[in-house]
Amino acid sequence: MTTPATTELRKTALNATHRRLGAKMVDFGGWDMPVEYTGILAEHRAVRTAAGLFDVSHMGEIVVHGPGAFELIQKVTCNNVEKLAVGQAHYSGLMTELGTFVDDLLVHKMSDTHFYLCVNASNQDKDCAHIVRHNTTGARVENASDYYTQIAIQGPKALGVLQRFTQVPLASINYYHFTHGLVNGVECLIARTGYTGEDGFEIYFAPEHSDKMWFALLASGEPDGLIPCGLGARNTLRLEAGMCLYGHEIDETTTVWEANLGWICKMDKGDFLGRAPLAKQKEEGVKRVLVGFEMTDKLIARDGCPVLHDGEKVGHVTSGSPAPFLGKNIGMAYVPGSLCAVGTQLQIGIRNHQAAARIVPLPFYKRPK
């Protein structure tokens, strides 16, 4: 995900604010984004124990509407949109003809003929083109990313803080459901979703209100321990929660079966892109499986490190990092199906070391109910 130096980095509506507040900025897949404010450890801890505020406006929003919308979404994604109620969202995969991932995404059902997709920032143009290419139903497909700021407020205190700004009874919005309403006087889509493993909300609204919303939530949440967070903590939080990141655990070479995402692939819903190769792979079995591991040596596995078993290379680390809340070094990796059992001892190639690791159940972290 590198961008040629000649390309101007894309900016969210909160870019100047992040810089003014002293956030450390990085090139994130072509976007100039805050990687950390006070530090990844403090931000990670805040989200697990209080709350964190994230600008995730770089994420893409694609609107699909019209009479053919349902049929089109059913065709290009692997989850079953028929099961979605209006006001409900689900996690899904945008499929290639091979049954691999063009992207992973959230599908929000606004009405029977209107779907709102939240996709990865650096994939949004590719995703939109892919959906358009397979649009034989006459649906209207629009990349609406420029019309939305997306702010995530995550953590056990998130609901309490956000509730101060809206009449919508937030506790009545179930997990992976959403509604529309005013937040701080601004019309928002309010979704109880997130990418941290904590309770929380993601709100979508017109970019001109970004600064006002950001500062209002920050100021109000400060006594509760809410702090602004960057994408660094977002990554360690999602990894602890065992969630996949596009370009790491999943891409155009991996399938739902390999990535342990069988639960988002509904083979009985009828035909969809990639269904036949997915059916074949399901029958034949996968050659590699995504597993979670923790280091039993003190070294830290990183993305791309080789995974060894009895000295032989058997796979690679897709994401590796310290797990700040668990106080361990963890990672995810693809390994052969014969080596995926919990408890299996592996070695991770880290610089000139072969560091010991052990396969553990996913997710690494599950929030207390």
Binding site: K24, M25, E36, G39, I40, L41, K298, I300, P324
Partner: protein
């Protein structure tokens, strides 16, 4: 803010001389760029190291950074505190969180390194680039 009794490299290490022994660490700029340091890997006492070559690793939550030696010589001592308290590098990079002490094989190597004023000018230029 950078101690004037030290010399500095473009890779953001500092070295402070005491006779033939040089104490080496990373600069405040480097620790800030790295973020929360969580792991440090240092060479064994007695190891030979070479100017401009990596001799250790400092890892933050997000990044792995190699440490380049400003000088050539032999490792005389390593800072054992950093094994259990790597975060000291964020808190006191120019003091308690020194990394290694080196017995220099060529004392004149130090003279080619930047002094505090030159280093400060060097990072001011870098910061201008990133905030552009």
């Amino acid at each position: 803010m950078y101690p004037t009794d030290c010399r500095y490299t473009k890779e953001h290490e500092w070295i402070k001389m005491d006779g033939a022994i040089g104490t080496i660490g990373i600069t405040d700029y480097a620790q800030h760029e790295l973020g929360d340091v969580v792991f440090v890997e240092l060479p064994q006492v007695g190891a030979k190291i070479e100017a401009g070559q990596p001799f250790g690793t400092v890892e933050s939550v997000k990044a792995v950074s190699e440490i380049y030696s400003p000088v050539s010589g032999e490792v005389a001592e390593t800072n054992s505190v950093l094994g259990n308290e790597p975060e000291k590098i964020n808190q006191d990079p120019h003091g308690a969180a020194w990394l290694v002490k080196i017995k220099l094989s060529n004392l004149t190597e130090v003279n080619s390194l930047m002094d505090a004023a030159a280093y400060q000018a060097y990072i001011a230029e870098k910061q201008k680039e990133t905030s552009a």
